[in-house]
Structure formats: structure tokens, C-alpha cells
Subunit: 402 residues, 2 copies
Amino acid sequence: MFNIAVAQSGGPTAAINASLTGVFNGAEQEAQVDEIYGAENGIEGIINDRLLNLRSILMDEHDKQLLMTTPSTILGSCRFKLKDWHEDDSDYRKIAETFSRHNIRAFFYIGGNDSMDTVMKLHSYFTEKGIDIKVVGVPKTIDNDVTETDHTPGFGSAAKYVAATLQEIIRDSRVYSIPSVTIVEIMGRDAGWLAASSCVLRANGEPAPHLIYLPEGEFSPEKYLNDVKQAQLRYKAVIVAISEGVSAGNGVSSEIVDAFGHKYLSGIGKWLEEYTKDHIGCKVRSIELNVMQRCSSHIASLTDLLEAERIGREAVKSALVYGASGVMMCFHRLSNNPYRVEITTADITKIANQEKKFPREWINQEGNNVTVDALNYFLPLIQGEPKLEYRNGIPIHFRLDQ
Amino acid sequence: MFNIAVAQSGGPTAAINASLTGVFNGAEQEAQVDEIYGAENGIEGIINDRLLNLRSILMDEHDKQLLMTTPSTILGSCRFKLKDWHEDDSDYRKIAETFSRHNIRAFFYIGGNDSMDTVMKLHSYFTEKGIDIKVVGVPKTIDNDVTETDHTPGFGSAAKYVAATLQEIIRDSRVYSIPSVTIVEIMGRDAGWLAASSCVLRANGEPAPHLIYLPEGEFSPEKYLNDVKQAQLRYKAVIVAISEGVSAGNGVSSEIVDAFGHKYLSGIGKWLEEYTKDHIGCKVRSIELNVMQRCSSHIASLTDLLEAERIGREAVKSALVYGASGVMMCFHRLSNNPYRVEITTADITKIANQEKKFPREWINQEGNNVTVDALNYFLPLIQGEPKLEYRNGIPIHFRLDQ
């Protein structure tokens, strides 16, 4: 008998807790696993020996069901980059001590690109030192920018939220008889996946968003103005979806000075709002979907949550049954329609600190929308709605503390 | 046999189309009603004779079911104030002509305080001129600031969205181990009802939002800082809900100058974010819930939608069966638990251009939260979830055009 540990890292999503549930479920199925520990605040909780015994927290199926549909990370998260252990191994030694102290033989780290750096370094350290502890990464990020995997848990729920919300904003934008432009800024630092996913509304015959701009395309304010004017010939209320990672380009400043004398850069959405007002002069509004994109579990994708649970469960099997370590769990898509995926593993060195961009060939020729291939890629990921439990009219969240 | 007309006015909500459905259902039940017309863009559609025949649009129960759960106004809206007809009756004459041309004997106007001004003036004009056309107001607004009625359709759904979203933001704000302040700015120009409604999370044991500020209370930045510091003694992630109508007070400017040289006032949330950073120095974030508050039908309150339909239906009955005119339909609450309301009418002159503030006695002594009486008032309004129809993973909206 031995124990295992799991931790969550990076920005929140609506599906990380589902992957945590999956790791727990996977470990429960392995007879040789005794305790299942959750570390608080990612790898920091391992370094500082702050572990929770998950068997005493997830008492029954109902607890697990609630956890599946609770957004963000019940264990907390961190933004912590391990140093190169050849230069400074102090944190590595603390980690090894924590694992040794609690007889932990496998560690599962749920996170994105940066977190996979931790998996890679820990695996390298343990291998070098001859310490037999399996380290397996479980992907998550709403940005969908992790390499080797078809997509990442958390992305489908974010995409479903963006689509449902954008559809409502479209309805809202059409009420008055005057022409208008509504600009919706969507998360995704350097990769445009989430903004691109707003194209799914097309599947239901919705022509909006009429324009979609991604960091992977070229963007120029002049071209944008022309695109909007063209769209205005057909649509009274023009809807623009733009990835936060799009830059307004050379020589264009989005600097703002507030009443406190603080200078900061506005988001591209706010910048475009002012730019559009200046150059077109109609009613213009910009909307930031903000953190709601990453935590709106009340409109999560059931496909996403079930896949997140499954990939967490498979991670445990791959480590404990097949002896995998230094890998990240991946989805490999077999077909779009019917949608079928299998779960595989990939060498962590191919993933850590890499970034998967939205394919250039899925951007249309005009650089202001995406192709039907993109639509077919996105659609399966947003299917299905989890059954939520409500109390007093509000979804119940699984909470550890206040 | 005669015809009736209905129009929608003011800002969108998730429940206006439910009231439209209710007017339609009510008219269908009256044997003397032939056609049921919907005017485009509120009273402007009556003035300009732009009418849609709703019987040819709402063909069956399925259409009506979809319309019930479609946000915003399918007929479009307007912000149009009729002139005093003693001074200029040109629009009134056009309205009377449209009604006469189409044999319309009753007009139902779904809107807020400003729209009730139209109901009042039209009723006064028709009475004076001896024209027998009933004019009845049907309330709607997410602001809940209409007098004479216990609450307004649209408010409950907005409150449910705010509560569900705030709960998710609370989860999101708690992931890192550092202290933080999250400020959520909530709609409500001069009345704090919607921001106050965020207290409903308390019913599920959630202590956040820890601080709630309303325009009906006094607000000073110094007092706010002290409140936050007190909250930080107990909570790592402090959550502040603030109504957009709260003013930062005398001598405080929230002026922003952007890269285009435009000057504008930031929202109170953004202003407080910078103020908090300056004076406390921890991680601070402000979030605007923006138009999503008024159009998020995917998390509408079933109670709200059913009441919105019912009050629209009753409006038709009150005009056609009881001969009411120059009135607005009202909810009169009989009890909180069990929740029971009856529908009444009130003289439109008591409502038009008035505003119902959040009760001062429901604000706590410290002026930074609300009382249990407020909680008991809000809770019934957010109960229940409509069954939504999804296609391709996205709720289906009822659409007239693109």
C-alpha cells in the first residue's frame, strides 16, 4: 500500500475540479492506493507540506457530483515556477521529503503549459536521483493552447459560456432601430481558440459574430474599419468578437490615464470602441467577458466535464498500472461526427512551455472570420448540459471553507 | 370583433418576451379579439404604422415556449418620450390613426418608469378626445424601481444571474494564497435593488459578498477603506458588490483620458479598483457584469418568467373584461413563505416618471450590507429554472430576423 497526491495549478476553469474528481475516482479503483492527498495551492502545498486527505473530504457520490460542477479549484492554485534543480535543488528536496514523509509514490498535476514545466522538472529530478515517484500531468486551460492534445479540459465549458452569452448579447444589441457596433473581448493571451469558438453560433443559423479577430491573424485598424463598414451594409447591429491577444499594431497606443494619474493599457476591446466611435460615429459598445469565461460552471459543457473526469481517472491508471511518468495525458480525436476521442500520453518535454496556436489555415482569406473546419472542430466540445443541483434558486457549490 | 396591439419599450430584460407571450395568450383567450398586432420599436412602431401580425409569427405552443425563454425584445424597443399633447399632438394623431386604421381597441405597453409616461399620456389623450381605446401598462425592468408593484418582471432573472455569477466569481477569487479584493459593479442607475439582491447567497451559507453598497446609502471612500480592512481580518478574498449608481462623493473625480484624448467618467467599480490599489496595495480586480445582467436568459428565474407571462395575460383580461385603462398591472405580495402574489392594477399617474428606491431600513447600520428582511424579499423571486431547449449545445432563441 502507498499513497498518491494531486494538485491544481494555473488559472481557474469550470472543469479542473472534474479532473480532480477523476484522479480521486481513479485512485479509489486501485487497491494498492491507501490515502489520496490533495495539496493546497499547487506545488507550493507539496513544498510546504500542506496536504488534505481527500478521502475524508469526498465522503460519497453526492460530494463528488457537486465537486464535478463546482468551478475553480477547491485546493487552490499557484503561479510558481520551479528553478532548474542543477542550480538550486532546495525546493526539490522539500518536495521529495513531503512525498517520502507521506509515502506518496505518484503525483498528478492538473494545469496548463506552465504547470507542465513543473511536471517535466520533477520527473527529471526524480529520474536523476533514482527516486521512484511517478509524475503525470493532466491538462487544463480555457486557452486550449497546450500542444500534443486535441483540446484541453476547461476549454469546452468556456466556449459554451462564450457562445451562450454572445447569443444573448446579440439579442440585446438588436433592440434599437439605430445602427450599432458591439465589440466583445474574449480571453486567450496569445492564442485565439476561445474567440474563434464563437463561430459555433453559425451552426444554429446565427450570422453573428460577423467579424472574428485572432492573434494568429494580421490585424490592422484600417482593415478593421473597412470590415465593419462592409458588415454595416448588411447588418444593423454588427457584432465583433476579438481575442484579448490581438494587438492594435504599430504606433498605436492604448494608454489610459485615470484620475489617480495611473497609466495603463486598456484592453483591445475598449481601445476599438473608442477607435470605432472616432471613425464611424455610430453607437459603439465594448464588453469584456472577464473571469466569467473561466468559471461559469452554471453553463458548463457536459462533454467537457465528463472528459475532464475521464482524463484524470486515466492519469492514475497510466501511472499506477502502466508505470507512466514524465508524460501528460492527451486527447486524440478519432472523428468529429460521430465525435470520438481516445486518451493517450505524450512526452512532457514536447509540451512544457510550448504553445499551440490556432491554425492559420482555419482563418478565412479576409482574416476576419474562421472556416467551417474550425466550426466542426469546436462543435463537439460544447455539447450537453450537466444536471445542476440548486438550493434557494442558486447552484450548489462544493466548498471546503469560506 | 376588434384587434389589439402590444409593444415593448426601454432596456432589454430576460422576461419581456415572456410578458409579450402573456399578452398574446390573454388575447387568444378572448373571443372578441381578431388580430393581435406587435409594434416594432415600441411606440415608434405605432406612430409609423409598423405592425407585425403576431398570430402569423407565433404559430404553435413550441414557438411560444421558445419566445418565453428568449431574452431582449423580439419586437425591438425605443427610448421615445411623447410630447405633451396640449402643445403638440401630431404624434398622438398618428397613433390614433394607426389604431383606427387597424381597428385596434386596446394597447398594451411593456416597459419601465419612462414607458409608463407614454401609457399615462395616451390614456389622457384618448379620454379627452372621447376615443375608446384601452391603454394598459405591463411593468418590466431589471432595476425593480417601479412604484406600486411589489417587484417588476425581469428583475428576478437578473438577480438570479447576478447571484449565480457572483458565486462563481467568489470561487474564482479564492484560488491564490495572497489577499485580494474583488469589486463587482452591478446595474441599477439610481436604485440599488439588483446590487442588494446579491445578498441571496447568504441563504446557502456563503458569507460573500462581504460588503454591499447601494445608492440609497451614504458612501464615502474613507469609510469603504475601513470596511475592506475590517473584512480582510476575516477573509483572504474580500468580495464587494457595488451598485453602478453609487457615487464616490464630493470632490472625487473618476475622469479618465484615453489614447484618443477622450475624457469620460469610469464606472464606480473601476474607480474603486484604482483607489483600493492606491490605499491598500493588495491584488485588486473590478468586474462589470455589463449587459449580461439584463439578457442572461440561460439562467433565468422560472418564477420570473411565469409571472411575466401571467401579468401580460392578466393585462388583457383587465382591459377587455373589466374595462381597465390608464393603469399599470402590479404584483401585490401576500406572503414570503409560502410565496404568494396576486395581480392588481394601479393608477398610472402614481407610477409614470416615479422611482421606487431600495428601503433605507433594509440597509444595515454600518451602511455596508443589507438586512434579513431584504433577503426574505429577494429569495422567492429567483426560484426555479426554466427548461431550455438546446441545439448544437446552445440554447435556441426565437428569432424574427437577422
